[in-house]
């Protein structure tokens, strides 16, 4: 019951935060130098078409009404038309969203699990060579410059050795061929996904490793670990059953905090690998002054961050029964 109340409270908070972001974005689009109409309506459209769009977006109304139109349009999923693609922004976003979510979730889960696992081992062998090398390795990986690592990956594994495709998400040859089945197509996507995934993984697992290590070292000083030792339990049991689950809690919190960072990284990775996701679409829209697309994809990224934060909060509430809300 308590937990449910807490989740509801977080949900309302996140909703308010989102509303503020929505409002700030609206104000920014009005405050920026230049005419807001040319920013939302493609200047190359015919007069009739642009009149229709202006009326639909409420751009001919006073600013208060414009805001209401803006909110209404957001909740009905109407972000206007993309200048570049000429189709509705929402249709572009919906087709890109799954690609981003696949890459983003797999990379976060993979790096969190590996990071927690390795951190556990490093803390257990504290002071040994294994620990020193693991810590150093994690530090170095964590501070690698992401776009550069991505280019390096493409250069080495895509170009020099040729194991993986250079960019994109699918090979048209396989997807155009009607005879290729579901498994072949999935395998093709997986083949394209390995390099971006490895890049994101290398950047992120280090921070989880370091966090898990220090959290583990704190936990090992707790009385219940001493009790477990006194009972004569095996070292492995103490490590995996008594220490690790408790030590992993702060790591879960940090996953929540680093989500924003991961999404920026995701956008960079998508751009370098030409992975058709929302982050790449945002970068593309910004470079081409495609304002409706930029606005729409930014809002959607904000939603993804906030939702992921909520998921982490809920997870935390269930993982740690000691916490009272």
């Amino acid at each position: 019951m308590e937990v449910r109340k807490f989740i509801l409270k977080r949900f309302i908070e996140i909703f308010i935060i989102f509303f503020v972001i929505l409002t700030v974005l609206f104000l920014l689009f009005r405050l920026a130098p230049g005419d807001p109409v040319t920013r939302m309506v493609d200047p190359t459209l015919t007069p009739e078409d642009s009149q229709y769009l202006i009326a639909q977006l409420g751009l001919d109304q006073p600013i208060g009404l414009q805001y209401l139109y803006y909110i209404k349009n957001f909740f009905t999923g109407n972000f206007g038309n993309s200048f570049h693609y000429g189709v509705t922004v929402s249709s572009i976003i919906w087709s890109r969203l799954p690609n981003t979510i696949i890459l983003f979730t797999t990379s976060i889960l993979l790096s969190a699990f590996v990071g927690i696992f390795l951190g556990k081992i490093a803390s257990w062998q504290k002071g040994t060579k294994t620990d020193t090398w693991m810590t150093l390795g994690a530090l170095v990986c964590h501070t690698l410059f992401l776009p550069w690592l991505a280019m390096l990956m493409i250069w080495i594994f895509g170009f020099k050795i040729g194991w993986f495709p250079l960019n994109g998400m699918i090979s048209p040859k396989i997807w155009m061929d009607p005879s290729s089945g579901f498994w072949l197509k999935s395998l093709d996507v997986l083949h394209h996904m390995i390099l971006p995934l490895a890049t994101l993984f290398l950047i992120h697992f280090g921070s989880y490793l370091l966090l898990m290590r220090s959290s583990m070292l704190d936990t090992l000083k707790e009385d219940y670990i001493l009790t477990a030792r006194a009972k004569g339990l095996e070292e492995k049991t103490i490590r995996n059953k008594h220490a690790a689950p408790n030590a992993a809690l702060p790591v879960v919190t940090s996953v929540g905090i680093s989500l924003a960072f991961s999404l920026s990284g995701g956008a960079l990775t998508e751009t370098v690998f030409s992975w058709p996701g929302i982050g790449r679409e945002l970068v593309f829209a910004v470079s081409n002054s495609d304002y409706p697309l930029a606005q729409g994809s930014f809002l959607l990224i904000a939603i993804v961050v906030l939702m992921a934060n909520l998921v982490v909060d809920v997870l935390y509430a269930y993982l740690d029964p000691r916490i009272k809300y």
Binding site: E13, I17, V20, I21, L25, L28, F29, A32, P33, K126, G127, T132, T135, L136, L139, V140, H142, T143, L144, F145, L146, P147, W148, L149, M151, L152, I154, W155, F159, S214, L217, I257, L259, A260, F261, L263, S264, A267, L268, T271, V272, G279, L282, V283, A285, V286, S287, S289, Y291, A294, Q295, F298, I301, A302, V305, L306, N309
Partner: protein, 314 residues
Amino acid sequence: MTVNQSTQTSKISVRPAKRFPTIERLKEGWSVYKENLIGKIGLTLLVIFALMAVCSFFPPLIDPMYHPMTGVDPLITHSTGPSWRHWLGTDFIGRDILCQLLAGTRIAFMVGISAAFMSIFLGTVIGMIAGYAGKIADTLLMRLADMIMVMPTLLVVLILSSLFGQLNIWTIVLLIALFRWPGVSRVIRAQTLSLKERPFIEAAKVTGASHFRIIFRHIMPNVLPLSLLYMTFRVTSAIIIEAALAFLGFGDPSTVSWGMMLQWVWKTGHMFQAPYWLLPPGICISLLTLSFYMMGRAMEEVLDPRLRKEVAQE
């Protein structure tokens, strides 16, 4: 009388430190810091990069063709590999890569340190005010911090640059600072909350010190070491954000930064042909951020005696 005097002098001679508590504390901190391997590596790297930044002033003086932005070697029209004339080779229009690399060091330091300083300043002041004032001010400031914290800084700056046009380097620094204070302010707020209940603050209040004086004279000296620690981590993130922006093509076009160099390699399609051009800027960004990160971790040990004891036990 004489006995009394002698004990007094001996007391003074034993603890002359009382006169300069800050310096003494720094000395003590340094003695812990220099025992730390990671801290030593970090500091060495930093010194190397600082030397590189200083060296960046010399090449354009030798010959105008070594100017990182405008200097073009008249004999070269395309990207070439390392040679005696150009130790790291040249870029696509014949500019010297080593000179660009050195100039980039200067920009990285400038961006990293100024953005980190500003965000730490904001974070410390806001954190102290929130923690000390409590009530509505605390709630409002911390909710604002939460809100900014969930936003991906890089993408926010991207959107702003699409709306306001090309950003210059100082605007980028300012934006990074404005979006990177919340993490610091949370930590400082927690520290202030515990400091506020201590007797010395009580004593200051009794003597009639104003809130302003209590915050800046009594609380601030106690949270500053923590702020300094966070500054090293903020330098790291500021350098990365600036480099990423420049890489995506939204940097200040009048500066040569490492991110910009990577963008040139990428956009001109030299990624596969010119490893001598692709490798150096990336290695530099990674190593400089690593150096600040390592120093931060070593400083954590200096500031947190719990971590220090662990090291001593080994």
